[in-house]
Every structure is written in structure tokens, then in C-alpha cells.
């Protein structure tokens, strides 16, 4: 069976050697399985042969987790179906998808209530009839890149703007199926298997028992996607969420849906000064309870968007950005009715005024198509960075994007921004800052103009990793560690804890072949 599934990685498959992080890897073979059965056969054979196995989805990741370091590329894009739907005893709907299902397509199916029901059980079909009659449902994770796959999102515990209110992907994952290195399968359901303290025992479908000693570190009390999720008495499902393809291959995911809030209004608030925006964030975080997101754009990000709008047809539809605007905060209220939303909007306006802003300098979106304009504005920021990088890469191929993904506790927001500004100015970098300011989680993107700046930027990020760790923060809050941030993980947890993580990995992957280079700094290069 496998000789038909596994292809030599010829020039035709070159695109599967890289991802959105712009890093390029190498591999000998590639496969595009369509079922769990095929995954099991491929994994069994490749693993037995001692080949490394890198699992891929849509390759939209920013940490190079899907970039292969030799061996076999297991691309799951053809496993993209919604396979089941059920209504739980809790009244919530649960949807089961294959890992290659694309977020935007799953969201569209949920919104338009149109699914390809081929192969669905009678129970699922019955649940669909209830689903059709039920109020609109919401899949909460909303990473900016909506062409990500659900499998990829689970593997790096992806977040998005709305994670400020709803938390990351983790909280929506109710069950997983994971193919292990010998082709055996772990079927895990939330609420069924727990660790005892830091000891976890798992039983596979094949009847095998796996005993795992969990690492002893404490997770930072911030938004976090750095390394294995570990806690006392933790649920076994959580170990695999955010495991970056290092323990096995996820082949099925059950996600929890929530009822869509009746009224969602968004507003972009512009300020003259960064300090005003920070004060505003601190104020609304305290005072307004139903905010789902708080997203920041610094002045340089606004300048980049102004330039993009002028130069590129794809961005011509961006709204006109008044030259007087110095920076912006996007926020969104999720409410039961319009009265609440109006009150929320006016409270936001009052907070702006209290922080030296003006209600005139806002863009309000009260329906989906208006929100789409503001989302487009948000998405255009990283897209513009990428396009700039692609241009510069043509001048010096060593240049790739340098994007930080660090979070700190609330009280350090002003400090961490001050640190970024001071160090970036000292280094003379071209850069932008944007992202999830509500979680003190800004993406600093350095746009290197030459190889030297690229190297200096990398060093700077390493320094920040140490500083952020000192503040009790996380070196990766949502993108995952992948390959690009493995050395930061060492800074964050230290060699002893990293060794514990390696022992955990060895319990599932004794030969160290799954996701080689992810989480752990490469031993061989």
C-alpha cells in the first residue's frame, strides 16, 4: 500500500520544503494520506526504517515546525473533511474534523450550515437537523491566518484576537486521535484520562500501556504556547495540544462550538501617542468586561499600511488612514443585544477621552461586512511585513522575517513596550509592532535591510527571551516554538527541564524521529 502513497521528494514538491516563516528545509520523500489507515501504514513503515517524520498542514506556521529536517514529509492536506457532528448533554454542539481541514472552510461550513455529509453516521445526520434549527454557532479560535489547518492550530495551540476572551485553541479541543510511532492509535477524550500529580498512564487502542513522567516545571501565568503543556493532575488531551508534531500524528479532532453572541461590534481606536494607547488598554481591561479582543498597531505598522495601500492593488481597499493617527487599538464587544453593545461602545469612547484620545478618531463596525474591513486591516499588517521581507530577500537571501511572539503578565505591559522601543532604537532597526496587546503579547517584526541586521535582530530576540522570562512571561505565546524558537525555550526553561521534556518525548518517540528540530535545538545539523 505504501509504495503508492510515498513519493520521492523531487523538484515538483519543492514548495513542501518551506512554510510561511520563509525557512527552507530538506527531505527525501513525501506522502499525502487520505485516511487514518494510510497514516498508520506510512508512519509504521517510515518509523521502522528510521526516517524522520515531519507532519505538515497548510504550512502557514511562523515557527517552521512544518519545515522538514530530512526524512519523510507527511502532508495531511487531503484529510480535510468534517467527519461528525453531535449535540452533547451540555447542549453544546461538537464537530469532528480531520487535521487538514482549513479553518476558514470549517468556519464557512458552520456559518452557512452546509457540510459534505458523505460517510456521516446516522447520529451525525440527525444532529445536523438539530444544528440547522439551532442559533448560529461560533468556533472561537481566530488566528489571523484563516487558511491554517485545524491540525496545525491544535499542534501549536493557536490563538487569535478573540483569545483575549475565549482563550486559545486548547479550550475548544474535546477529543483527539493520535497515531503513534508504531502505527498504534491513542484515542483521547477530555475528562476521561488524568495524570496523578506528574505521572500519566495511557492505554492505546492496541492495548499497549505507556507510562509517562511529566516534566516538573511550572507554566508561566500568561498566554503561552511554549513547549509541552504540563500541570499537576492534568488532562491527557492537553499534553498533545501544542506538542508541535513531536509525539505522534493527530488524525482526528473534536472541537466544541459555542453559541454565537447576538451582537458583535468592533471598533478601531486611533491615538496620537503610544503611551495613550497603553493607558487605554490598561483602563478598558479593568473596566469593560465583554471585550473579546484588544489588538495593537504601532505608528510604524500604520505607516507600512499607508504605503501598501498606495502601492499594491491587493491593499487598495484598505480604509484611508488619517496622517494624524499615530497608533491604533482594535477592540470588539460581544453582547446579548444592541443596548449592551451601545453601552460598551460608549464606554470605550469614554475611556479614549480619559486617555487623551478623541471619539472622532474611530472606525466602528456593527455588522459582519464592516468587521471584515477591520479584519482585513488587521491581516494586512503581517501580510505587508511578509511582502516587504520577500522583496528584501531578493537582495540578500539570508534575510527572513524576524517576528517575536512573547507575552508577559499584565503589570509589565508598559515595561516590556519600553524595553522593545529602547532596544530597537539602539539597534537602528526597521520594524513594526502589532498584535495582542490585551494579553501583553505584541509581535515585534524586525524587517532587516541586510544580513548584518538580520543577525543582530536574532541576537536581540534572544536577549528579550531572557528578559521576558524574568518577568514571568512566555517566549512563544501562540505561534508555537517550532524550530525557530527552540533556543528561546532553552532560555525559558533551562537545560534540566528541557531534558525532562526530551524524556517525555522519548516515551512516545524512542528514536527521536517525529518533528525533528521542533522544541529541541538540533543536536546534529
Amino acid at each position: 500500500m505504501t509504495d503508492k502513497l510515498i513519493h520521492q521528494l523531487t523538484e515538483d514538491y519543492a514548495e513542501y520544503l518551506k512554510d510561511e516563516s520563509r525557512s527552507v528545509g530538506e527531505a527525501e520523500s513525501i506522502s499525502f494520506p487520505v485516511s487514518e489507515e494510510e497514516v498508520r501504514a506510512i508512519v509504521k513503515e517510515e518509523y521502522a526504517a528510521g526516517h524522520r517524520i515531519t507532519v505538515q498542514g497548510a504550512r502557514t506556521g511562523l515557527a517552521a515546525a512544518a519545515v522538514p529536517h530530512g526524512g519523510h514529509v507527511l502532508n495531511l492536506m487531503k484529510m480535510n473533511r468534517v467527519t461528525a457532528l453531535r449535540k452533547g448533554e451540555d447542549g453544546l454542539f461538537y464537530i469532528t474534523v480531520e487535521p487538514g481541514a482549513i479553518l476558514s472552510q470549517v468556519k464557512k461550513a458552520i456559518e452557512s450550515r452546509k457540510f459534505n455529509q458523505t460517510g456521516w453516521s446516522e447520529e451525525s445526520k440527525k444532529a445536523f437537523i438539530e444544528f440547522s434549527a439551532a442559533p448560529e454557532q461560533l468556533l472561537t479560535p481566530d488566528p489571523t491566518e484563516s487558511s491554517a489547518t485545524i491540525g496545525g492550530m491544535v499542534s501549536c495551540n493557536a490563538s487569535g484576537a478573540r483569545s483575549y476572551l475565549y482563550g486559545p485553541t486548547r479550550g475548544r479541543v474535546n477529543a483527539l486521535r493520535v497515531v503513534l510511532c508504531d502505527g498504534d492509535v491513542l484515542a483521547l477524550k477530555r475528562g476521561e484520562v488524568f495524570a496523578k500529580g506528574r505521572d500519566l498512564t495511557l492505554t492505546t487502542e492496541g492495548g499497549k500501556t505507556i507510562n509517562v513522567k511529566l516534566p516538573t516545571y511550572q507554566l508561566p501565568k500568561t498566554k503561552n504556547a511554549s513547549g509541552y503543556y504540563i500541570a499537576d493532575d492534568m488532562d491527557a488531551v492537553d499534553l498533545f495540544i501544542g506538542s508541535d508534531g513531536t509525539l505522534g500524528v493527530i488524525t482526528s479532532i473534536e472541537l466544541t462550538l459555542l453559541p454565537m453572541p447576538a451582537t458583535i461590534w468592533g471598533v478601531t481606536c486611533f491615538f496620537a501617542e503610544e503611551s495613550q494607547a497603553i493607558r487605554f488598554v490598561q483602563k478598558v481591561r479593568e473596566e469593560i468586561k465583554n471585550l473579546s479582543s484588544l489588538e495593537y498597531f504601532d505608528g510604524r505598522a500604520l505607516n507600512l499600511l499607508r504605503k501598501q495601500k498606495a502601492e499594491s492593488t491587493a491593499f487598495a481597499q484598505l480604509p484611508f488612514i488619517d496622517p494624524a493617527y499615530g497608533c491604533a487599538v482594535y477592540t470588539e464587544v460581544h453582547c446579548d443585544n444592541e443596548e449592551q453593545a451601545t453601552a460598551g461602545l460608549f464606554a470605550i469612547g469614554d475611556a479614549m477621552k480619559a486617555c487623551g484620545g478623541s471619539e472622532d478618531n474611530t472606525w466602528v463596525a456593527r455588522n459582519a461586512s464592516e468587521r471584515d474591513i477591520l479584519y482585513f486591516f488587521r491581516h494586512a499588517t503581517p501580510e505587508s511585513v511578509n511582502m516587504t521581507i520577500d522583496k528584501r530577500k531578493k537582495i540578500d537571501p539570508v534575510i527572513t522575517k524576524l517576528g517575536s511572539d512573547m507575552s508577559v503578565p499584565d503589570k509589565y505591559l508598559a515595561d516590556v513596550v519600553a524595553m522593545y522601543e529602547k532596544d530597537l532604537a539602539a539597534g537602528g532597526f526597521d520594524y513594526v509592532k502589532f498584535g495582542h496587546i490585551g494579553n501583553n503579547h505584541l509581535h515585534v517584526n524586525i524587517l532587516p535591510r541586510n544580513g548584518e541586521e538580520y543577525r543582530n535582530g536574532k541576537e536581540l530576540f534572544k536577549k528579550w527571551a531572557a528578559e521576558v522570562t524574568k518577568m514571568g512571561g512566555a517566549v512563544s505565546a501562540e505561534h508555537g516554538v517550532g524550530k525557530l524558537k527552540a533556543d528561546f525555550l532553552m532560555v525559558m526553561y533551562g537545560p534540566d527541564h528541557i531534558r525532562e521534556m526530551a524524556e517525555l518525548k522519548a516515551a512516545f518517540d524512542p528514536k527521536g524521529l517525529f518533528g525533528t528540530g521542533n522544541l529541541f535545538t538540533p543536536i546534529t545539523r
Binding site: I129, F346, S358, E359, D360, V364, I373
Partner: protein, 259 residues
């Protein structure tokens, strides 16, 4: 100068959903929105009002809940709003709608320039603009893509045609319908939203507007829908078999058909 912009309340999506059991069309309680094409008319109206001075009134015919969308027009730059609402207007086709809108225009004392979107995304008829103009007995220009000049007496516009464009000068009073992207609609500000909640808003019933009830609603609608159905679903791509030569011939034929 007096400007009026006509808007229509439409469903926020034009996707049609079928009940899985009865196969009937589900009109779920999705939020209604301003017809997207009308947003361009609102923005253009606001810009022309800013340039020439005067007022911009938002006008619609619909259920009382349309007030929310008319107030949204105010948050986007209109000064006040008028809603024609009455059970007597129910079941209107484009002719009866144009009549009801014309009553609204007269009720506010007429206008120099009336702006409409090119068409509504639910009905797709593009008929209201010209029918309204004829009902009022004034000029109209459709598919306006650019305002080249405006004076107290007339407006010079560029309208798109299949083969290029026409530059037309039209004396007031007149109706123009505008195409997508003639201007970029602004998003309202929080202060705009505050203002819209207190701004003047008037409703007119058929009687208040002195309507001839033979011309309103179902009575005034010559056309009626006798059947609605969803077109056959998108089927899978049809394979084009044969040698590359056959396939090439198929492609060339397709190009020829379109050109």
C-alpha cells in the same frame, strides 16, 4: 442644496439556506444591513453635501426596524432620515416601491439630487433609480462611476457602459445611481454613532404621505412572484476528455464564445 440618498434593507448574506427536512428556504433572523451598493451612494451624498453645503436626507421604505439602518446612514454622514412605513406598502414590486419612495421625496419637499446604489443585492433588479426618476418626472443617469463637476444647477458625471463610458451633464432635479467603488464609504466613528441616536428621524404612513392606495403595496404592483426555487446545486467540474488536441480545441472554443 438638498440631497437625498435612498437605501434598502437587505439580508446580511445572499446565501440561501434550505431546511434539511422540508427543503424550504430558511429566512433566518440574520441581521439586516444597508444594501452594500447604497453605502457608496451615502458616502458620495455626504461628500457632495460637504462640498456644496446643504443637507443629506436618508430615505427608505420598509418595516419600522429599518430605523436602525437609517440612523446608521446618519452615523455615516447623513443629516436626518425619513422612513415610509405602512402595511399598505407591503408586497411592493419595483413600481410600487418607486411610487412610495417618490412620496417620501415629496414629503420632505423634494431634492436637487437623489442618489441610489446601482442595485440591491437581494433583488438585483437595478430598476428603482430609473422608475423613481420617471415617477417624479425628473432626469436620471445610471451606473455613475465618477462625479466630474457639480454646480447649483447641474451635475456632470461619467457613467460606465459596456464599451467604455459616457460623460453626461444633467440638470437638477435628477436621480443618479452609482456603481461600486465610486468613492470609499467611511466607517462611522463613535461620535457619529452618538449623533445618530439623537438625530431627527421621521416616519410617514401611506395616509400621511397622501398616497393613492391603488398605487401602493400589492395593489400598486403589476408583477407578482408565483414561484421561487433554488437553482440546481453546483455540480462537480465536468471532465474534458480526449487528446491534448481535443482539449486545446475545447479551450479555444470557450475563449471564442466569451469574446
Amino acid at each position: 442644496m438638498k440631497f437625498i440618498v435612498c437605501i434598502k434593507q437587505v439580508p446580511s448574506t445572499n446565501e440561501v439556506r434550505l431546511d434539511p427536512v422540508t427543503h424550504a428556504i430558511i429566512r433566518d433572523g440574520r441581521q439586516s444591513v444597508i444594501n452594500p451598493f447604497d453605502l457608496y451612494a451615502v458616502e458620495l451624498g455626504a461628500q457632495l453635501r460637504d462640498r456644496m453645503g446643504g443637507t443629506l436626507t436618508a430615505l427608505s421604505m420598509g418595516i419600522p426596524a429599518t430605523e436602525r439602518l437609517l440612523r446608521e446612514c446618519i452615523s455615516r454622514g447623513a443629516d436626518d432620515a425619513v422612513l415610509m412605513t405602512d402595511r399598505a406598502f407591503a408586497g411592493s414590486d419595483t413600481l410600487a416601491t418607486s411610487y412610495a419612495i417618490s412620496l417620501g421625496v415629496n414629503a420632505v419637499g423634494g431634492a436637487d439630487l437623489i442618489l441610489c446604489g446601482k442595485m440591491a443585492v437581494d433583488g438585483d433588479t437595478a430598476q428603482i433609480g430609473p422608475e423613481l426618476a420617471r415617477t417624479l418626472g425628473i432626469h436620471h443617469v445610471t451606473d455613475v462611476a465618477e462625479v466630474m463637476d457639480i454646480t447649483e444647477k447641474d451635475i456632470t458625471v461619467r457613467k460606465v457602459t459596456e464599451t467604455g463610458s459616457f460623460v453626461e451633464k444633467v440638470a437638477f432635479p435628477a436621480v443618479i445611481t452609482v456603481v461600486k467603488d465610486i468613492v470609499m464609504p467611511r466607517l462611522p466613528s463613535i461620535s457619529g454613532v452618538r449623533k445618530s441616536l439623537d438625530a431627527p428621524f421621521k416616519t410617514f404612513s401611506a395616509a400621511e404621505a397622501n398616497a393613492d392606495t391603488a398605487r401602493t403595496g400589492f395593489n400598486g404592483s403589476p408583477t407578482s412572484v408565483v414561484k421561487t426555487f433554488t437553482p440546481e446545486g453546483r455540480t462537480e467540474a465536468a471532465p474534458v476528455e480526449g487528446t491534448p488536441a481535443d482539449q486545446a480545441a475545447f479551450l479555444l472554443k470557450a475563449v471564442k464564445e466569451v469574446r
